[in-house]
């Protein structure tokens, strides 16, 4: 349903074609999939953070009626090959990285609370859980390695004994003349800022069904994933099953946020069981398992020394970054690799002249560090926090400091330290517009008046620039631009009944691509939105993609690919129609799915008739006219472009209780041309909401001795309707770089910039009380510690 018949679909708030399905309970998520003869699995998981697995007695569990099999680490050793996360795509070759090899179930040691030790397969999940209680494990406790300090202490036990320390990765980076900028600085401002561990927590946890066909020797994995092909690519070497014999099917996915972007150890264990039993085995992760074991993110700390001028210009930075990557690395993107992004992505829209960094990632007895919506988000937090810290130190307005530090469009420098071009950057415009909407100066008057009444209001700002996909550098040898993780492939075809099918390599899980890709094709082909079906989710027919939906790729890459594939198809349609209507192709037009000759509206040809002729009477078409009704495009991202913008957050802090209320939230957003503004705004709100959770509520807490403390939804708190405000979202006029495709990614922007806007607002509220914030997580108890009301726990 388009807003206006005949109008362009792109740019309209088209209603989502996904919604009738999900609103009526007809979505098919992984736990809704039933395969005949299916068994159910449950994992025995370690309750100790670190220990040597001396023995495991599963005999009583095997005897329980309804239990079909119990697998242990020894079974994994004999039936699979140890996995080395990232090795399939070469991540283990990154300089300075240490990647351990592990089996799906613990063999020699347990390394975090939740480490899978045994797999029970039974007639029902309840019976499988009954059997878990009958397994007896003998574990010799080892000292837990929990904090950065524990991990860096040479006397701590090594978590992976194949390495001589608990260092997961080290790196150094220097860009620009760092000594020169410090030499010319008026001031050096130091700050150590930390980000706490929190996690994606999609409402649907992980889950899979493994199904083995012994005749065809084919493994089918039904799973909840963002990237179906990646699952088969990564499974193959561990199982010794050729990739072409592994099929991955994924239907509706109840959220991912970066978590479901690879292979989980549980899936290997499940496949081993399915092959052994020649029966389908289903595992649906419960919420306790999810919180403890699915993956956690963002435990990072940076010691920063900033070279600044007296008027607040950040000239350069030395930073020393540490990341706690947990125990088992994520496959294929090991958490340790993100330590480099904290410095590598620090610059953002600033004119910083030099940056030098050392990076250290450590192993610990915690859950796996995974990607979470903007995995480099800590870089944005560090930069935007540092700009406010500089403003406080120099007694300047944080808005003025931003005005002085962010690049202006078309003024030098035109490139970042990394060489990436500052093309079409609208950060300056966004801060001015945001300040205007927020009433930046008027707020100070209200803030003053409120303080006089003992009320503490705060206003914080933060900006970002996201390479989604980033501008192409025309001078770079390989084009240097466009999409990360390769080109994007789409097929668009006319079905025999005249309807249109799009096959995408995306794997949407809330982003509404069934709607947006159809909007793009609808405009390009001149057919009704309703006549277009978007298909995805089965590796038997979708194009290969390392990353399907993730990394804010879809807006530019998938829409662009569909746009160009539709154009290729349109050319074929026009060539055929020109023959059938005996007209020149340039005289033809398509409207509402009907081809006609311009100026002669009585002569028409429907897509259905066109398809029929191609199928049944191909001889009517002369030699040289393509007889397939398919368009394909492998798209490189074109000229690309930046996403970016500025957020302003208003808070009130109750200094007696430490409770923070978000009173107002303003977003000024540049994501190029939005295909569907309603969907863009949904992405922004969702991202900011996760950031509100990160700052006020969410922490993947561990005790000093490595016990996990946030294993239920009563401990891991996510934002609810009464926590978040209504959001004011404004779209900024964008600088268009590509002749055709100026849709830019928007999935991560909210989550990467909002934590700084919120924390800046909280500090702003409390700054006259002497509060200086150097961390991201600010639950009420912490606010009162910062105020000095209660001692630091």
């Amino acid at each position: 349903m388009t807003d206006v018949i005949g109008a362009r679909s792109v740019g309209a708030r088209v209603l989502r074609s996904e919604d009738p399905r999900i609103l009526t309970g007809k979505g098919v998520y992984i736990d809704d999939v039933v395969v005949p003869g299916m068994l159910h699995a449950a994992f025995l998981r370690s309750t100790v953070p670190h220990g040597r697995l001396l023995g495991l007695d599963v005999s009583e569990a095997r005897e329980l009626p309804g239990v079909v099999a119990v697998y242990t680490g020894a079974d994994m050793e004999s039936r699979s090959t140890a996995g080395t996360p990232g090795s399939t795509i070469g991540m283990n070759m990154m300089p300075g990285i240490n990647i351990p090899s592990s089996y799906a179930l613990a063999t020699d040691k347990v390394r975090y609370v939740g480490d899978p030790i045994a797999l029970v397969v039974a007639e029902s999940r309840a019976v499988a859980e009954d059997a878990l209680e009958l397994i007896v494990e003998d574990i010799e406790m080892l000292d837990p390695v929990v904090t950065y300090a524990d991990a860096l202490d040479p006397s701590s036990p090594r978590i992976f004994e194949e390495f001589d320390s608990n260092i997961a990765m080290t790196g150094e980076m220097v860009m620009g003349d760092i000594d020169a900028v410090f030499a010319k600085a008026d001031r050096v401002i130091s700050a150590t800022v930390s980000v706490h561990r929190h996690q994606p927590v999609p409402m649907e946890g992980r889950g899979s069904i493994a199904e083995w066909d012994p005749g065809e020797e084919e493994l089918t994995i039904h799973t909840s994933t963002q990237s179906p092909h990646l699952v088969r690519l990564l499974m193959s070497p561990q199982l010794g099953i050729p990739m072409e014999n592994i099929r991955v099917i994924s239907g509706d996915v109840g959220g991912g946020f970066g978590l479901k972007m690879g292979l989980f150890r549980e899936d290997i264990a499940l496949a081993v069981a399915a092959v052994d039993l020649a029966r389908p085995v289903k595992w649906i992760e419960d919420r306790g398992e999810h919180l403890a074991t699915a993956g956690q993110a963002r435990e990072e700390m940076a010691e920063m020394e900033a070279a600044v001028t007296a008027d607040g210009v950040l000239l350069g930075l030395r930073m020393n970054v540490t990341l706690n990557s947990g125990a088992y690395p994520s496959d294929p993107f090991p958490g340790a690799m993100y330590v480099g992004s904290v410095s590598g992505s620090f610059q953002g829209p600033t004119r910083i002249e030099a940056l030098a960094a050392t990076s250290t990632a450590v192993f610990s007895n915690k859950s796996t560090y995974v990607a979470y919506r903007g995995p480099w988000a800590t870089a944005d937090f560090m930069r935007e926090r540092l700009l406010d810290i500089i403003a406080r130190e120099l007694d300047l307005d944080p808005l003025d400091v931003r005005r002085r530090n962010y690049v202006h469009r078309d003024e030098p420098p035109l490139a970042m330290l990394s060489g990436q071009l500052f093309l079409g950057v609208t950060t300056q415009e966004s801060i001015e517009q945001a300040a205007r909407i927020a009433g930046w100066d008027e707020f100070r008057v209200r803030q003053e008046a409120a303080r006089a009444e003992g009320r503490y209001l705060g206003l914080g700002m933060a900006s970002y620039l996201e390479a989604a996909p980033g501008p192409k550098n025309p001078d770079a040898p390989e084009g240097g631009g466009g999409g990360i993780m390769g080109n994007e492939m789409s097929h668009v075809s006319v079905e025999p009944d005249g309807s249109i099918t799009i096959i995408t390599q995306q794997h949407p899980h809330g982003q509404g691509h069934q709607t947006t890709l159809a909007q793009v094709a609808s405009d390009e082909l001149g057919v009704p939105f309703e006549s277009i079906t978007v298909r995805y989710g089965d590796t038997q027919f979708t194009p290969f993609a390392l990353v399907a939906t993730g990394g804010s790729r879809a807006a530019t890459m998938a829409n662009g690919s569909v746009l160009h594939a539709s154009r290729a198809l349109r050319e074929k349609i026009m060539a055929i129609a020109a023959e059938l209507l005996e007209a020149a192709p340039q005289d033809l037009e398509i409207q509402g799915g009907t081809i006609s000759v311009a100026g002669t509206p009585s002569i028409t040809l429907s897509f259905a008739e066109l398809a029929r002729v191609v199928a049944e009477e191909p001889d009517r078409l002369p030699e040289g006219v393509d007889r397939d009704l398919e368009g394909t495009a492998s798209y490189d991202g074109g000229m690309g472009g930046w996403s970016g913008g500025t957020h302003c957050c208003f808070v009130e802090v109750d200094i007696e209780t430490g409770m923070v209320e978000i009173q107002r939230y303003v977003v000024v957003e540049d994501c190029g041309v939005p295909v569907n503004p309603a969907i863009v705004e949904g992405q922004v709100r969702g991202g900011v909401t996760q950031a509100i959770g990160a700052v006020l509520l969410e922490q993947s807490a561990y005790s000093e001795d490595g016990q996990f403390l946030a294993g239920t939804f009563m401990d891991y708190l996510m934002p609810t309707t009464t926590v978040v405000p209504n959001f004011e979202i404004h779209h900024l006029e964008s600088v268009l770089l590509d002749p055709d495709v100026n849709f830019r990614g928007v999935g991560e922007g909210g989550m990467i910039v909002a934590p700084a806007a919120i924390v800046n607002a909280i500090e702003d509220a409390l700054v006259t009380l002497g509060v200086r914030v150097r961390e991201q997580h600010l639950p009420p108890a912490r606010i009162l510690e910062l105020l000095g009301t209660v001692p630091t726990a």
């Binding site: 029902s124 999940r125 309840a126 859980e129 009954d130 209680e133 419960d286 919420r287 306790g288 007696e656 209780t657 430490g658 409770m659 509520l697 922490q699 807490a701 403390l709 946030a710 239920t712 009563m714 401990d715 708190l717 934002p719 609810t720 009464t722 926590v723 639950p779 009420p780 108890a781 009162l784 510690e785 009301t789 209660v790 001692p791 726990a793």
Partner: protein, 292 residues
């Protein structure tokens, strides 16, 4: 997260409930609203072999007025109480506290008797019952006892209930309309377990001084904690900001709350002082307007 095996009984009469309890004792758990018991079962933290569902005992679900008491049958739902005119008119403190319990879909199942028997020290109803000097009527095959709230709540998840006893009624005296009541709590999010909650009553004499008061804290001890020293200190005092601030200090002077992921003991103690002061202030303001 599936429930373990158990035998399930759903008798229609209280006598059958009591005879099952007599038979199974500590092997049995009474299932009322299930909003606390079922999660404990799902996490396999509770392991009864027998579950005795009392929801089919019709006589337990009533809310009625009896000799200036409002009497709640053990399975009266929190949602029913929330909608009850008796509660609205006679028990303003309970009416104010009820919406703090979880969310609507919790209160539609959760029961007054169940939350009292469960005795979570950060639950609202036990705090209200303690403040209003309520009584809990419990019965076994051997007979009935009426237990005053302070004797009933003995520790976190621990009560005076014997293994063969079942809560049958919770009785709350109808409130003096001239008294001011207030209930406040601070939770991380609306509907979460309270970090700290306080129920208070203030009544004023003709001279405007405090004639009587009650203060109960929840979430900061292993039982709903009556602040009797503070109540005593308030008697005859003038209802000023300073008076209530002093009472709040007295009420929280000896607190030893637990530390958890949501806040340290020091934080909870501080918060308790703030909430006691605020709740007393609100209760006193209501007492003033009730008198006017």
């Amino acid at each position: 997260m599936k429930l373990p095996r158990f035998e399930y009984h759903a008798p229609d009469t209280l006598d059958e409930v009591l005879s099952l309890l007599a038979e199974h004792g500590d092997e049995a758990k009474v299932l009322a609203g299930g909003q606390s018991l079922v999660p404990l079962l799902a996490m396999r933290l509770a392991r009864p072999t027998q579950v005795i569902d009392v929801n089919r005992v019709a006589s337990l679900s009533t809310i009625e007025e009896r000799e200036s008491q409002i009497v709640f049958g053990a399975t009266a739902r929190e949602r029913t109480a929330e909608r009850s005119p008796l509660v609205r008119t006679q028990l303003p403190l309970l009416a104010e506290a009820l919406p703090f319990i979880g969310h609507a879909a919790i209160r539609t199942r959760g029961t007054i008797g169940g939350t009292v028997a469960h005795a979570d020290a950060s639950a609202e109803i036990p705090c209200v019952v303690t403040t209003l000097d309520g009584e809990i009527v419990v019965r076994s095959a051997g007979g009935e006892r009426t237990i005053a709230a302070p004797d009933f709540f003995q520790g976190h998840f621990t009560t005076a209930l014997a293994d063969d006893e079942c809560v049958v009624e919770v009785r709350l005296p109808a409130s003096d309309p001239r008294a001011g009541f207030a209930f406040q709590e601070i939770a991380r999010r609306h509907g979460d377990f309270a970090l700290v909650g306080v129920a208070a009553m203030v009544s004023l004499g003709a001279d405007g001084a405090i004639a009587d008061s009650r203060i109960t804290l929840m979430g900061v001890a292993d039982v709903p904690l009556r602040a009797r020293a503070a109540e005593a200190a308030l008697e005859g005092a003038s209802p000023t900001e300073e008076t209530f601030a002093a009472a709040a200090r007295t009420a929280t002077a000896d607190l030893r709350p637990a530390t958890d992921v949501h806040g340290s003991a020091a934080y909870r103690t501080h918060l308790a002082e703030v909430v006691v002061r605020r709740t007393l202030t609100t209760a006193a303001a209501r007492a003033r307007s009730a008198q006017a």
